[in-house]
């Protein structure tokens, strides 16, 4: 696909030829986009490379220690991992003014190494009592970094490790079957919190997590299984706490006077909390979760359009497409001969592709404006 600048150059040449604009005006239009767009793309590439590099180095350190653990004396192991944490933060802090992306990535590496140190020391000391606490400590450190450095990657790390803490706590309490709903409620809270504070990465993770947790409930068997699962005290406590957190953050989002869609998004969060809370108490059946999922997809497209956020409109379009295809194969394909099912399913997919290709640029483009 050609770059935007290349397409703009062709378009503006046509406009000059047709007498719509002068050559100087065409040059001014090209100049308006040329430098800024290129710089932004370059900056994003550097950022992705730096963050990817930090994650790779963090994994490398963990794998190195895991493979050579037995050969390194105990105090040396501890000294090495602590020195690595401090060195990474110090280098990041030093580099940040001149090389913000690499500096930031090194700060993130410091936090990844901190998480690794908790598990490596746990392994070194054969710690077995209540392991999930390591994820909680890691999440708190990442959340501290997100506030201190105003950092989206730190916020993403905090959201991930916070979610991991909840899941491992439930598994540790033999309530793993409640993990799906707990993750859904947590994701709703993350979305509402991120939207209220304008932290894009938390919004994306929250929206993705909440929709991903809702999707399995659109299958009748899963909804039935969730309703009949035997949940213990730990699951009830976690569910009540997470539902209260999600409702509180959604309520806070509803008070955002700056955002035109804040109340509608808060209402969507309330609906999701209701569905996730009702799922273990009543057999919801497949209809209600399907209706809610499609309504949320439509809502995401509308909200993306209203607030000028193409990514949100894209999420809505993707969810609606997947939902239509999955429902076709889940319901109708069962009662049709295989050849007819593939013919009809393929035709639906092609029609969807045609409709998306025709309307995607219009919807997302208008959202971007």
């Amino acid at each position: 696909m050609r770059r935007f600048e290349e397409r703009l150059a062709d378009e503006t040449s046509d406009w000059v030829r047709e007498g719509l604009v002068s050559a100087e005006q065409a040059a001014a239009i090209r100049g308006r986009y040329d430098d800024g767009a290129g710089d932004e793309r370059w900056s994003r590439l550097v950022q992705v490379l730096a963050i990817g590099g930090a994650i790779a180095v963090g994994l490398g350190v963990i794998l190195f220690f895991a493979a050579n653990w037995g050969e390194i004396p105990r105090f040396t192991r501890l000294a090495l991992i602590v020195a690595a944490i401090v060195a990474s933060y110090a280098a990041g802090d030093r580099l940040r003014p001149a090389h913000p992306h690499v500096g930031h990535a090194l700060l993130l590496l410091g936090c990844i190494l901190f998480g690794a140190s908790l598990f490596l020391v746990g392994q070194m000391e054969n710690v077995s009592t209540h392991d999930p606490l390591a994820f909680l400590l890691w999440a708190l450190a990442a959340a501290g970094g997100a506030v201190l450095f105003r950092s989206q990657p730190f916020a993403a790390l905090a959201a991930f490790t916070g979610g991991a803490w909840i899941v491992f706590e439930l598994v540790d309490s033999e309530a793993g079957s409640a993990a799906l709903l707990a993750v859904g409620l947590y994701a709703v809270a993350v979305y509402a919190f991120g939207t209220r504070l304008g932290v894009g990465v938390l919004r994306a993770l929250g929206a993705g997590g909440a929709l991903a947790a809702l999707f399995p409930l659109t299958f009748g068997e899963v909804a039935d299984e969730v309703a009949s699962a035997d949940v213990g005290t730990a699951a009830v406590v976690a569910g009540v706490a997470l539902a209260a957190l999600a409702l509180a953050t959604a309520g806070w989002l509803a008070t955002d006077a700056q955002r035109t869609t804040a109340r509608a998004e808060a209402a969507a969060c309330f609906v999701l909390v209701l569905v996730f809370c009702a799922a273990p108490l009543l057999d919801l059946g497949p209809l209600l979760p399907n209706v809610v999922l499609l309504a949320l997809a439509a809502g995401a497209i509308a909200a993306g359009y209203a607030t000028g956020e193409p990514w949100l409109a894209n999420v809505g379009l993707a969810v609606a497409t997947v939902e239509i295809l999955v429902r076709f194969f889940d319901y109708f394909a069962r009662i049709m001969p295989r050849s007819v099912a593939f013919l009809v399913g393929g035709t639906i997919a092609l029609t969807l592709a045609w409709a998306l290709e025709r309307n995607h640029r219009r919807i997302v483009g208008r959202a971007a404006r």
């Binding site: 140190s117 054969n126 077995s128 201190l148």
Partner: protein, 156 residues
């Protein structure tokens, strides 16, 4: 130094101190607490290894909580030294004199918890054979309240 710099270095210092503190507390307990050796068994005898570690439980030799114990209540088992290791001889709801190990009343027995022991890939086969022979013992440091801390596994 600005407040932001102070906050930054405090943030780094806390993260450096957390692993040091966990390590230091565990090592201090191990150095000061009495050590006992108790027969250990893998949680799953058919497949003891779960990745890089083996999950073990203790075979203390006395597993019946006192009749008055409620579900989840703390129970101590008094330990007696034997030629192969320590064995429990009675349970009590208050900490008995002498060496004792702490557990919880659970389903009519005493639960001393599960322990993880990390071993290298090279050593896994040796431990697998030792578990099959039933001659693996856990060396435990007993904290002041009788809570066991696994130091290492030994074969006898």
């Amino acid at each position: 130094m600005s407040t932001r710099r102070i906050l930054f270095w405090a943030f780094v210092a806390v993260q450096a101190l957390v692993p040091v503190t966990i390590f230091g507390l565990r090592e201090a307990t191990a150095a000061l607490a009495p050590h006992v050796v108790i027969h250990a068994m893998p949680l799953d005898p058919r497949d003891p290894f779960r990745g890089q570690y083996v999950a073990v439980r203790l075979d203390v030799g006395y597993n019946t909580p006192p009749p008055a114990a409620r579900e989840g209540q703390v129970v101590w088992v008094h330990l007696q030294r034997t030629p192969t290791g320590s064995r429990g001889d009675y349970a009590s709801l208050t900490r008995p004199h002498g060496t004792s190990i702490r557990g919880h009343a659970h389903g009519g027995t005493i639960d001393f918890g599960l322990f993880r022991y990390y071993v290298s890939e090279d050593d896994a086969e040796r431990w697998q054979n030792a578990f099959a022979g039933g001659n693996v013992y856990a060396e435990l440091a007993l904290a002041r309240d009788g809570r066991p801390q696994l130091r290492r596994l030994v074969t006898r």
